[in-house]
Symmetry: C2
Subunit: 611 residues, 2 copies
């Protein structure tokens, strides 16, 4: 990979993944370029390039023109410019408190890419409103083509090669049409997080009748802070397959860091506005009020944040339910709001002002990610009264947000043992009217710090299968420290595994194409193809080369696990050839193949093998 | 950890895990010492040491007396010496072919610890036969105490703290008694792999009404070979929690390496005898015959191998069923036997001689691990006719082996998408009369070489929950290369996670104690305790220290993820204290606590928090 060095503020990782190239597809019906990745396979194999979903943006083009100071191309700008009911306006002036009142020397340089903000002033602003009105937006067309990937090839295959699956009530279509996308959004079952001020966005969709998505978290903390690192973490996350990225910064320069991220993000960016609001009041939860929160919502909405985690479900009445828990409240937002409610003996202002929050978010089409502030932080606390009490409130709020025209998804746990996972999904679907579920793991045991990407991948794969639309990744550093670059990559790839395992189990028509391509490459001993088809070509190649480093081994008809004499795949290949030869010599002229096969199976006698 | 340097052939890793000590418990009823590990917790916490299951043998004692040339103490020798129906005899002489006819210079030194072999000559030899006769052996008493771990504490806990779970028909007892163990073995639902010539063994049990177990694979290959490495890999595997170890060596010096391993193994050792048989005939499958196989069985049984993988289910009639597969036959043993059957147009000698195999294995109480030679090697081939055809044959053979007095478990896949996993378990239970299932993963997708410990941990946790008794680990190197020391550790710990997640979900009474201890340590910010309770204290501490290296941070009431201001657990703790203070000041004399709580919940008014 190349490391591109732009003028500001840092270099980011660019260039295609090994063996891959970027492919943009322009559908006949619309003026847009849908991004895919094509994995090029050994020409001798006769296999066409394998097309896969690609959230990595222009960074993985062969010769990307990246200038972080200018930002990515504004592919949505033309669409939005034509859309009625939006207006451009001056926007809110940046305040010193937005960046934590840092001194001039400590202030991160603002991103020079300025965009005059838009806001909605008409009757139709959000994707939900358009969908309800029966209107298909460009974003809907775009995601339909993205999601349709592989379906044609899959459905053209032999009947027995078609995907099977158990979808638990999800209605996965043979083909994804723009109209299907519209209908799903109108039903509240899916969202396209797409702030009208995030013009650089390559739209994507979150819903249980679509491919399972993965979110990665980045963000500075009070202990570390760097614009360069955070932008690179975003680019690095999407390189390995993150579909959305949450910026959870809590330190200084929050506003300016977020600006750099948004102007250079082809994926939806989510935030938790209460974090910044708390910074603005000096970290004292009791000083939080509606005014500072509202101001923060507008600040971030104008920047283009695509979804906000809002912990409006943490109500005063829920707080006592956490008192006998083993691990109390483990969500930052949840504990901030619990402290506020408790100390003031007042109902949460997020709950009481929920209508007004909706009005603001609708105006920019910021999607709700209704936060699970009372999610369990341990196996002991899973599925308890506090968690489910909050979930019921989130269901109530979902309907309010829909009435206000907003898009909504619902956050979920957390720490849940396997036998209690399905109850979470079922209750969420029931309480929240099938609004998309977005879960953190869940972790299926508490006993493996350092390996919580794995404890949680088990739960994530299962809940994704049951119907969760997006999985928030967990890195190996969970519970222990801040993820570094390697941890981010491990977290994203682990969650791509969980999401893909879920897609396979749900029976997405095209999901198995990649598995099948890998399996054929394995059976043919096409080592380079195996590396390239995999989620992490670099690691696969490195592991292979540790045992068999020579170039000749890349075409060897065995691997280091069994060695040449014992290779079972080699033996099977030889078997087929021998059987074919015998077949040719002895039987070719005699009988039809099917007849022969039936005879063999009947008599248990002489062998017949298809080739 | 200390690295002990014995005289021969190499050093192995010894010493306790950080924060732990070995604890041997002698039950009142029997003269035996049952090994446990005790994790010592911060005395200020008031928590007693946490006792956990411990397969690591004497190596993790504080001052272990390890001499690899002498071997481990023969704790079973006294039991076996008293047992009627066994005789000591001269045993088979070692032949040059047993070690691959290596030259004198290349020959690994034989292990000096010689044991005169025993064999069964009476009516009762195997654990199965004793169990059927209503006799409780020392091994059954031993495993009952091992498995009973934590149940007393768990059941003494408050009712709401008791484990719940969904066991899918498993009958998990409140207490594990020796009689329960006997009854499970007599029913064929569990086995104690315990060759009468493996006197060094600390007995353990495999069955779905017991804790889920983990196997690790070691073994040299044609490409690498070292006694020292293999013994250390065994010790290293059990240090991190492997319950059994399979020696899959295929290279030179197989006999001598195995001797070193067995004399120093406190866990059951499994092998695949066909590998060595094939070495003896120069690697040509067509030269295999009953005589060389029989000789190999006796050779290994006399050495003390506890279970043999026997691929007797790969019948001539099954081979054509693999012809249209995407990845053919991926089991080494399976492909060897398929080639043999196909080339000779004969039924498998393993199938035809199964009675005689049983007679040999019974004589030494070697347990069957009936091999799944036709397991799927890809998502595309999962649950196909070849796989299930073989499984039906394994069911038939299970009954034969039981009639012959042998213990039996059944090997399972492989590569299986999530929605097809349960069918495997259900069919196995049905076809094989509830004999224990022992699966490799299964891997839930094919697309992540380098991460197959994770793709398979998802499937392993699920199938363990559904009823699989032992999980064969998969390392990050699967499909790519030979696992090194780090890979072995990663594989074992990943599979301990899967097994524990399954135990939790099944509702094992004591399983949650470790999770709860971790959660309390988290809530109390006892960092050292968190490291020590976890499956991998070293990695947890290292990850923590990367962000917060100072000793003071080990007692810090926050972590690097949120920093001091944002720490949600800290906020919850403060909340509790504040609430308790308010409670004391304002309400203490007024009303009973339950009343107050009810009042709060009713009116949604003033706050009440339990402390």
């Amino acid at each position: 990979m190349n490391v591109h060095t732009p003028r500001q503020p840092s270099s980011v990782t660019t260039g295609p993944l090994p063996g891959s190239r970027k492919a943009y597809v322009t559908p006949s019906c619309a003026d847009m370029r849908i991004p895919f990745r094509e994995i090029l396979l050994d020409p001798a194999s006769g296999e066409p390039p394998l097309r896969v979903y690609d959230p990595s943006g222009p960074y993985t083009e062969a010769q990307p023109h990246i200038d972080l100071a200018t930002g990515l191309p504004q592919i949505r700008d033309g669409w939005l410019a034509r859309r009625e009911g939006l207006e451009t306006y001056a926007g809110r002036a940046v305040k010193a408190e937005d960046n934590g009142n840092v001194s001039d020397e400590a202030l991160a340089e603002p991103c020079p890419a300025r965009r005059a903000p838009r806001r909605g002033v008409g009757a139709l602003v959000t994707q939900y409103e358009f969908a309800r009105a029966g209107i298909i937006t460009e974003e809907m067309v775009y995601v339909a083509h993205r999601e349709n990937l592989g379906r044609e090839a899959a459905l053209a295959g032999a009947a027995e090669r078609r995907a099977d699956g158990e979808s638990f009530g999800a209605q996965i279509p043979d083909f994804v049409t723009p109209e299907f996308v519209r209908a799903e959004i109108a039903a509240g079952r899916a969202i396209i997080p797409a702030n009208i001020n995030h013009t650089e966005l390559e739209p994507m969709i979150i819903g249980r009748n679509f491919l399972v998505k993965v979110n990665s978290n980045i963000g500075n903390s009070a202990l570390t802070s760097s614009v360069a690192e955070e932008v690179e973490k975003m680019v690095w996350s999407i390189r390995w397959g993150a579909d959305t990225v949450m910026d959870l910064s809590t330190g200084r320069n929050i506003h300016n860091i977020r600006d750099w991220i948004l102007r250079n993000a082809p994926v939806p960016i989510g935030t938790v506005p209460i974090y910044q609001a708390l910074e603005k009041v000096g970290g004292d939860a009791l000083k939080l009020d509606w005014e500072v929160f509202k101001d923060t919502l507008i600040e971030q909405a104008e920047q283009g944040v695509d979804y906000f985690t809002i912990h409006a479900g943490v109500r005063l009445q829920h707080v006592p339910l956490t008192a006998s828990r083993t691990t109390g409240i483990v969500s930052r937002g949840g504990s901030i709001m619990a402290r506020w409610c408790l100390s003031k003996h007042q109902e949460s202002f997020l709950y009481e002002r929920f209508d007004e929050i909706c009005d603001i978010m609708r105006k920019y089409d910021v999607s709700f990610s209704l936060g699970d502030g009372l999610r369990p932080g341990s196996i002991a606390d899973a599925n308890d009264a506090a968690q489910f009490g909050e979930l019921e409130t989130l269901g109530e709020l979902t309907k309010v947000a829909w009435d206000k025209g907003c898009q909504v998804m619902i956050e979920g746990p957390g720490h849940v043992p396997m036998h209690k996972i399905k109850e979470n999904m079922d209750k969420q679907l029931r309480e929240c009217g099938e609004a998309p579920f977005y879960t953190l793991g869940p972790l299926t045991t508490d006993i493996a710090p350092g390996y919580d990407h794995i404890t949680s991948a088990i739960g994530a794969a299962m809940i994704g299968w049951f119907g969760t639309a997006m999985l928030c990744y967990v890195t190996p550093k969970e519970h222990l420290g801040l993820p570094d670059r390697d941890d981010v990559k491990t977290g994203v790839i682990t969650y791509r595994i969980a999401a893909h395992a879920a897609d396979l189990a749900k029976g997405h028509p095209g999901a198995r194409l990649r598995d099948d391509a890998m399996s054929r490459a394995r059976f043919d001993f096409r080592w380079q193809d195996q590396f390239h088809i995999g989620l992490d070509p670099d690691t696969a190649k490195q592991f292979h080369d540790e045992t068999l480093p020579k170039e000749a081994h890349k075409v060897a008809h065995f691997c280091s696990m069994c060695g040449p004499k014992f290779c079972s795949m080699k033996i099977t290949q030889d078997l087929r050839q021998e059987a074919a030869a015998m077949q040719n010599e002895k039987d070719l002229a005699e009988k039809g193949m099917a007849e022969k096969s039936a005879e063999f199976l009947e008599k248990g006698g002489k062998l017949y093998l298809e080739t």
